[in-house]
Symmetry: C2
Subunit: 357 residues, 2 copies
């Protein structure tokens, strides 16, 4: 899915982040607010942080100062120009609460397309699809995988791309793979490179990646194949393809997804994201974080790429010494530019080495 | 799926293996004929090898001497007592040919339950489900994954099982993981051990594993979780749980499935299956087989288990010397028993080492 194709961008948007805008669970909403090239957030719905400023809630000075309001009705009043509603959080338990149902109905009645990251697909529900027809709006279920007819097993077709492919992996979930990928993309564009990126999760798609599939919803057999197809489609139009990875090779819950993405992207270089203070896994306290050295060794054993750099939450100089790798914090000033330069040098060294073979 | 629960076993069965009985593509049919504890094959349908003997077609002296006939109509005549039709091959291209449609209809009209390994699910098709109602027969779609409500992400619950868990992995697809797992199971039962096994592919389910899911059809996020649940269910009733792995950690098409199974089963020991003459992957000539040393190192880096033994297609003594591992050919006389003894010693050594810690 490439949401650029669906919208005349940037589209004025209401972001639904009920009860989660101040929490890590709101990361899709945060991504849309901070980074989206498709959606221009004009109001955030969250009854818990209503009345506050995004910069304060997110503790990020660069967050756009849009109103946080308690309901979609208030958002439609604050931003009557809105043409889209992005559902950027998942309700606890999975079921749509009644309040959300009336919120989504109100947005559709006001002419908003609905972009949903919900696990249940609104477009497959009679109520929502007929309501969309009635109001002549569209539903984008971002998590919905391609149909079986559009899926295939990975076969190495990705080996033929001319573009450089850089994959972002991590030592855990929720460690900043999407952010690092996006910051590399933004730095590449700013430096005049012809870059595109591949999202493998819902936030990346909503932020505006040139191609994306929520790969963890794809039948396991087809993960590498779908990632190959995503890389191939972006490589057709760009010289540099940045790919968002998922989870970690040593994460016992999700590792299969990670390896499918690594083997599907078959990158020329890997950037590894790490939080040096994290010793247990996010949402999986029972599992330890195995760390940079283990992940790096596995990545290099399991692919033809090597780790070009660390994207660290810690002090870059300390982490670089500790792991014998270039390390950058993408939140530091010029961090993304430095990470891009490091990756560029690594790719160049690889190409020179290949040329000598 | 545990087909023992669905049938009064062994059930007299017709095995549909049209155009494939003599080929590797017929491996599900071969498994059902040679090993099934659920289905007692009384006739095989394959117009290409009709009239020959299974022992000659399969080049296996132990194959039961049932008739190979050109059509289901002939099979129903040769085995009027049949109560099940097993569809043990997939049609080229995926679409059901007209001839198969009438074959399946004939079997249902004759009172046979249909056990299907097809990619399309007969039970979800109006034609087939109403026909099943009409003839009061059942449809088992073996490839159909559990519903989303029955799926979960792996969380390490499998760490609490008391049973010993032994996983069979391989250096490629179609290298004998299912056969090795089954032979270990059979040897364990014969030696009086309380063993059960977990299938992760359709053949294993049809052969009669105590629990099974075609894991490559499960959304990628849930592979480890579904394997944990399979192991937990078999471990409840047995002391030794043998788990069939899939593909290979270095197989770029399917590796994610392999790692999900390894992390879901979280075994106490691994048996690695290898064909020493294979240098390129089955159906993926573009990919090299990485081999025993690489797979072993990755398995041991990615899990808490070590490789207890090789199940080799080659000469056990040569392969044992070459890799510094016990090696057994399960097709040799007493091969399965020797492999079981080797694995048993490995488990015992592991438990003694753990006891000393």
């Amino acid at each position: 899915m490439n949401l650029h194709d669906g919208f005349d961008t940037p589209v004025p948007t209401i972001v639904l982040a009920e009860e989660e805008f101040g929490d890590p669970g709101g990361k899709t909403a945060h991504g849309v607010l901070l980074h989206s090239e498709v959606f221009d957030a004009r109001a955030v719905v969250d009854s818990e942080s209503a009345g506050e400023h995004p910069a304060d809630v997110l503790e990020r000075a660069d967050a756009p100062d849009v109103p946080i309001v308690p309901s979609v009705a208030d958002a439609l009043e604050a931003a009557p120009e809105a043409e889209a509603l992005v559902i950027g959080v998942a309700p606890a338990g999975g079921e749509l609460p009644d309040a959300w149902v009336s919120d989504i109905e109100a947005a559709m009645a006001a002419g908003c397309d609905v972009v949903s990251g919900l696990h249940t697909f609104l477009s497959e529900d009679e109520h929502w699809s007929s309501l969309a027809d009635e109001h002549q709006v569209r539903i984008f279920d971002v998590r919905k995988p391609p149909g079986e007819d559009d899926l295939r097993v990975g076969d190495g077709a990705v080996d033929d791309v001319d573009a450089d492919v850089v994959l972002t992996l991590g030592t855990d979930c929720a460690v900043g793979k999407r952010t690092t990928t996006f910051e590399l993309y933004r730095a590449a564009k700013q430096s005049g490179l012809d870059a595109g990126w591949v999202a493998t999760g819902q936030t990346g798609i909503m932020v505006g990646a040139q191609a994306g599939v929520v790969v963890d919803r794809v039948p396991a057999d087809f993960v590498a194949g779908v990632v190959e197809d995503l890389v191939l489609s972006v490589a057709e139009a760009h010289d540099l393809v940045l790919v968002e990875g998922q989870a970690s090779l040593t994460h016992r819950g999700y590792s299969g997804v990670t390896l499918g993405v690594l083997h599907g992207a078959w990158p020329d270089a890997v950037v590894l994201v790490d939080d040096p203070d994290r010793t247990r896994r996010t949402h999986f306290e029972q599992f330890p974080v195995e760390g940079v050295a283990t992940e790096k060794a596995l990545i290099e054993e399991l692919s033809a790429a090597s780790v070009a750099a660390l994207s660290t939450w810690g002090d870059p100089s300390t982490e670089s010494d500790r792991h014998g790798l270039p390390a950058v914090n993408v939140y530091d000033e010029n961090g993304p530019e430095e990470l891009l330069r490091t990756v560029g040098k690594h790719l160049e060294a690889g190409e020179n080495a290949a040329g000598r073979e």
